[in-house]
Chain length 643, copies 2
């Protein structure tokens, strides 16, 4: 369903009920650009810390406009044993709704615009018919404006400051307006003594209208209703009506209702995001970090500076998130899926060992055909993101005994994937953990190298040719991180470089220390290979401390071990870029035994088996809202209850 | 004629010849926004100096995109006694033409986009089919890239730096690529000994292609032509052909021609601007300062920081500019024209005492009908801007004896309006003088007032109520310039304010001094009411020094007197905002006698009368290129030669 400014109001109840009845929601956004600073490759360094990455995205990506928002709701129909979908494609544009409303500026990136144009994106629909919106602060400002105006018009406004013109008389009319105001008073006096019901004053300036309101409220505290009316030519004039008290109250109320409607219109698309948020439903997206950041930034509040605050806000707005790109990059999917881009993922998840989900579109809604791709239409992308989620969730059900063909979005089997948003191109941190502390790999095999600006990747390969495979993460023209495959080589490299003139080498720890000397408190590395942070104190009875069991393995294996944190076997994936090798099933085997083959006994697993109780309650959320103050049983290192 | 990426190349010769044959050109641009900083009213303070205004526009307006460029060429046909027009509407978009080309980011302002959308502007045409462009630096960078690549491929490239991999062998192939390169060499050796003409190598990375070029050029310096080819899937591979020397040279030349064409395509719309520039023709625009700034910024070079440098660049790019808004705001038009907005101006210039110009569109070109407005389509706006210019120019001819119905764009009657670009909302400086020093009104009747942020304009009126009419130019929430109507009142106001607590008053001179203390050399005010600047030394035999003959008049009169600088009679225009009251005819009367009724004797005036010699030579240009170093006869205060 395509929703623009023209049909937004009439469609809102349809959207609300679709969200209300859904089992889960899928979203996708299209933006006017990605990075307004460095190129995307420079923006996303492979050795970024989560804080750095968040900071970069916040700084360089939030001035773009989210101008198409796709929402696809999925409701599981037990009797038909299939999902029913309703997909919405919202066009969004911050059309200024009045002369005093914010005049948003946004950046367009030529490559992004060109890409969308080549996909047939309809920019005219965005700019001519986009739905407006306000964030929460703008909404309350506007509400206050309305109230202030109402108070002023009722004569109940109190001056909030001392100005040269105040305190001299009830209404201080500047000399040049005195004649004008006298004529108005005469007209109103005439109205009160004749048989007319209303009188229209001549169009005048905002300042004059204010004087009229003040004067009339002061001179005629009762018996009048005063209202500003706009002509077709957008000229504003005041209409004065004779009314009794009851009529006056009724008219005031009507006016208030009109104002409320104006306010609602201005809040616009944000109301849809509020509804999604309030529903508390699982919100699925593909590579969704930017979607989440933009959605919060545009429709809630400017993003906070600190990552921790962002996590808190995100958990308030979207208490349950799931990123299908992260899920597909995690075991048991990782070994089966070669390409996690949305279009390729959707194709692979129709083939064995996966099954294409049974899905039907609801009556009156667009039925997308995945055979004829409509990629990069947000509604379509949201739709196939939902399909991917269903396929992967159902695949998890095949490990149950007996296997279950349908796994609900509320299943505890899904929980390990909650609130972990895929981090693009970070070598050893696969996701941002929204509801807990982030992974902090030690990086003691990483070197920070500076060199002349003419150097290319091949020069670095040459330089480190004695150390076997290396991985280069460019920072800028003259510096890069170089990951060696073995920690032992670091000291050798450092020694070798001592007398070098053209380049310089620091260990990662040295680099971070000098970088953060003045901005951050230094972190100490614990003996277990993890940084000591306040998060480490968050423990629960089920928590398992990660242990670094195989430090001699290659670096990407170390990362994986950190990430999956129940893995014993370290995968060797030397030279491949990007981390994300999780050993989900193996890991489970090694820590809690062969649960996948075991009978489910209680809790969510039994819910799955009975297939009955899943409609109402969502599994308890891991939250970071009381982080640090109270220990919870859902810290990062907890094994989810189902294990 | 609508010109997009699709028909640009085939239309270019049409554009070139239209420019070539034209008597004058009219241009107009549509932008994605106006101000990315303060609101337009804050951006354009009524007391801005020309330097300040330029600085603000440069800082806050250049990140928008000029995405539609209107060009209308006007050629006067003597036999038909009418103008023949060709109008072009160019859609412009910086589509990145390769992976290494600049990825332009531009800002959109919601209110501007919304306005254009409401006028039916076709954004899809811009983003899907806009013509690309490069500025001069980007063009030469790209040219260098091509040359470098060519040198590299010919093996004639010399390494410009010392890298670890250089100096060891003719081609240093990293270990991991050695096998790959050997296989390539084997294939080429096979080619040389068999009867095939060419061999296609397998697709590979850019780095590998570089190694192949280097290796083959080194091993087989003769007899091969090597070229990178792209498959339909955008995969790149290398094609090696056996050739004799002649064939090789021919293929090289073809390749070079293809590269030149690619380069031309990338330079794109800038070629049109270059053609306009090279023609040296009069370029007419309406309120054209932003159009000129954007055109230079986008298609030539980033705007210089200093106004003087901008003037110099502008005179190089557009040696003859004329702003119809400035012309219409100047006598003898000012008294006859009540509204100088383009649409209104065009209407008024069809009515008496003006005459609608006789104009016809050339065959194959769009004939705009001014009865059905297509305002804010750049081609249409350029067209009616040209109409306005013709009407006003011809009106000047009615003052000649005998009156002339047609005044050429090359007439010296037009010269006083050259290179003076309308300054929006500056009270006492009506234009930016591109080819000379700017007007510098003394502003000794102006006060700089600071006050609590709650104050409104009415509070300022109240504060200064004893001083008669004032004019308020807001700077920000807590400060404004207040212009008193009489200089004598300044001291009284200063005295009165001494003990004030809530507000503070400085004279304009004090304010400017404290503002520029550290950034500018102080200016001294001469006794004649003009700042002493280096420009004042530019005098010529015909120059007339301005004199401040009536200081007691109201401020806008003072400004007018400064501006028209031959006026004796000061017009009183108290309270009206904006300056620009020139007394063109009166002024002429008072300085050079009643020339308008006199017989033209020689020079341009006689050209006008004979109507013969006007086709070839443009009148000598006032330029500021040798300003300061040599006295010229065309300084600011010169009376144009026709007087």
């Amino acid at each position: 369903m395509e929703i623009t400014r023209q049909n937004f109001k009439e469609s809102l109840s349809t959207v609300y009920s679709a969200v209300e009845e859904a089992d889960f929601l899928a979203i996708d956004g299209e933006f006017s650009g990605i990075s307004d600073g460095p190129s995307v490759s420079a923006l996303t360094n492979g050795m970024d810390t989560p804080e750095e990455r968040y900071g970069k995205l916040r700084k360089h990506s939030m001035d773009f406009l989210l101008f198409q928002f796709g929402l696809c709701t999925f409701r599981y129909d037990q009797t038909q044993a299939k999902y029913l979908t309703k997909s919405f494609n919202f066009y969004i544009f911050p059309k200024p709704f009045s002369r005093t409303s914010p005049d948003i500026k946004f950046i367009c990136q030529s490559s992004s615009i060109d890409f969308l144009a080549s996909q047939g994106f309809d920019f005219n629909k965005v700019f001519r018919s986009g739905i407006p919106y306000l964030n929460q602060e703008e909404e309350s400002q506007l509400r206050e404006q309305y109230e202030e105006k109402r108070n002023q018009m009722n004569g109940s406004g109190t001056p909030s400051y001392i100005s040269p013109s105040s305190g001299k008389a009830a209404v201080n009319v500047p000399d040049e307006h005195k004649d004008f105001i006298s004529r108005v008073v005469e007209k109103v006096e005439a109205l009160l003594s004749n048989s007319e019901k209303t009188v229209d004053l001549e169009p005048c300036s905002g300042f004059q209208r204010k004087l009229i309101y003040q004067t009339l409220n002061w001179k005629f505290p009762k018996g009048l209703h005063i209202e500003t009316v706009e002509t077709e030519k957008k000229e504003r004039f005041i209409q004065v009506s004779k009314v009794d008290e009851e009529e006056r109250r009724r008219m005031e109320q009507q006016k208030q209702e009109r104002e409320q409607e104006e306010l609602n219109d201005a809040v616009g698309f944000s109301r849809v995001v509020h509804a999604i948020s309030k529903s508390g439903k699982l919100v699925v997206g593909h590579n969704m970090l930017l979607d989440v950041m933009h959605t919060i930034h545009q429709f809630y509040c400017p993003l906070p500076e600190e990552l921790e605050d962002f996590k808190e806000v995100t958990m308030c707005v979207f208490p349950r998130l799931l990123d299908t790109k992260l899920m597909a990059s995690t075991q048991p999917f990782k070994d089966l899926i070669t390409n996690t881009s949305l279009a390729e993922l959707e194709k692979q998840l129709k083939e064995k060992p996966f099954k294409a989900p049974k899905v039907d579109c609801c009556e009156g809604f667009q039925c997308y055909d995945t055979a004829s791709e409509q990629l990069h239409e947000a509604g379509y992308d949201a739709y196939i993101t939902g399909l991917c989620f269903i396929s992967m969730a159902n695949y998890l059900g095949t490990f149950l005994t007996p296997p279950k063909p349908h796994i609900s979005a509320r299943s505890k089997l899904i929980e390990p994937f909650y609130n972990k948003l895929f981090l693009m191109r970070v070598i050893d941190i696969p996701y941002l953990n929204i509801s807990g502390p982030d992974l902090q790999p030690k990086r003691d095999h990483v070197l920070y190298v500076t060199f002349p600006k003419e150097w290319k990747t091949s020069d670095l390969y040459q330089l480190f040719s004695a150390f076997g495979n290396i991985q280069v993460s460019w920072i800028d023209d003259t510096s890069a991180f170089v990951s060696l495959s073995q920690v032992e080589q670091v000291q050798i490299a450092m020694n070798t470089s001592q007398y070098a003139e053209s380049y310089r080498i620091q260990t990662y720890a040295e680099y971070m220390q000098s970088k953060h000397k003045h901005t951050h408190t230094n972190r100490k590395w614990g003996e277990d290979g993890w940084a000591n942070t306040s998060y480490r104190s968050v423990t629960g009875k089920r928590s398992i401390s990660p242990t670094q069991e195989d430090q001699s393995s290659d670096f990407s294996g170390v990362a994986d071990s950190n990430w999956s944190h129940y893995s014993k076997k370290i995968k060797t994936d030397a030279g491949a870029s990007g981390g994300g090798v999780q050993t989900y099933a193996e890991a489970v085997d090694s820590t809690t035994g062969s649960w996948l083959k075991a009978q489910p006994e209680k809790g969510a697993a039994s819910q799955e088996a009975s297939g009955s109780e899943e409609a109402d309650a969502w599994p308890k959320l891991p939250t970071n809202q009381n982080q640090g103050s109270q220990p919870t049983s859902t810290g990062l290192f907890d094994v989810p209850q189902v294990w």
